[in-house]
């Protein structure tokens, strides 16, 4: 998998989180997973199409999601309700949108599907035949993982 496909999602995640939360985000070491990955508690999935097929997963613990949703709404949110879900989904939408804009500027033809949010414990995600690169982001509210699994289409010119 080409790193230039992953970096825009990682950079977009850092930039958007820093903008909306007004905090410093620290990127940790990138690692590769070929097998099933456990979900931390709240995960937003964005499908990728165009020159590639794959997906991006923005994953965090529910406590982290609640704190982030609270800051974005400028009020404390104690329960992961519909507004909290809409807020975290919109956060992922902004990250996907920023990354796609950057990839498009670099000449790649990527499109994103509307984000889908999953919540719960003891969940795992598998993407058969796709390697997943995971970049953990260290925030003052907890760890967020940007998980990108993407493969070039066989008929792609890239």
């Amino acid at each position: 998998m080409r790193l230039e496909y992953i970096n825009p999602f990682v950079e977009a995640s850092c930039d958007i989180l820093e903008e909306v939360l007004d905090v410093k985000i620290k990127k940790e070491e990138l690692f590769l997973k070929e097998t099933t990955v456990p979900i931390l508690g709240v995960a937003v999935l964005i499908g990728l199409t165009g020159n590639v097929r794959g997906r991006v997963l923005i994953d965090m613990e529910q406590d982290t999601a609640l704190k982030i949703a609270g800051i974005m709404n400028m009020e404390e949110i104690a329960v992961f309700d519909e507004m909290a879900k809409a807020t975290i989904t919109e956060l992922a939408n902004m990250i996907g949108g920023r990354a796609i804009t950057e990839l498009h500027n670099e000449g790649f033809d990527f499109e994103v599907s509307p984000p889908t949010i999953f919540t719960g414990t003891d969940m795992e995600v598998s993407s058969p035949h796709l390697e997943a690169f995971i970049v953990p982001l260290d925030t003052p509210f907890g760890r967020i993982e940007v998980n990108v699994a993407v493969k070039e289409r066989e008929d792609s010119n890239f």
């Binding site: 507004m83 807020t87 989904t89 919109e90 939408n93 804009t101 498009h104």
Partner: protein, 143 residues
């Protein structure tokens, strides 16, 4: 010190007030309840009247027609279920060629921006929403 009789020259009237004292009426179109809440908070803080909120293009078109000619400006998301923002923009402009619509999207691809402006959008804002940028674009579109 300012008083009611002699207001300070530094005090400005809220953006949402028309010269005749009425409020500009707006419709917010977005499928995210977070974004509609955020936009409504920004707009009402400047005394804009958020007359209608719609969660997709179909509902937005219906509401624009039913409130016509009361809506002064529409903020329009692009990616929405049922009818997306570009299609809704086209249909509202077909119905009312003087409609003032500002596109708001997380995606800032140049071709999408150009297409919206060619169809008749007044401006384009890329998320995350910045309060002063939103208000400035709306103020300019209404002036």
């Amino acid at each position: 010190m300012a008083n009611e009789e002699y207001p300070s020259v530094n005090e400005r009237p809220p953006d949402g007030l028309k010269p005749d004292g009425g409020n500009f009426k707006l419709m917010v179109v977005d499928d995210s309840m977070f974004v509609t809440k955020q936009l409504t908070q920004i707009l009402t803080s400047e005394e804009y009247d958020v007359l209608a909120v719609a969660e997709n293009g179909e509902v937005a078109l219906e509401k624009y027609k039913s409130h016509y000619p009361d809506i002064d400006l529409v903020t329009m998301d692009i990616t929405m279920p049922k009818m997306d923002g570009i299609e809704c923009l086209k249909k509202i402009i077909e119905f009312d060629k003087n409609a003032k619509i500002i596109m708001i999207s997380a995606i800032g691809k140049q071709d999408l921006v150009k297409e919206s402006l060619l169809i008749g959008a007044k401006n384009y804002i890329v998320k995350p929403l910045n309060r002063s940028k939103v208000l400035e674009r709306i103020r300019n579109a209404l002036s």
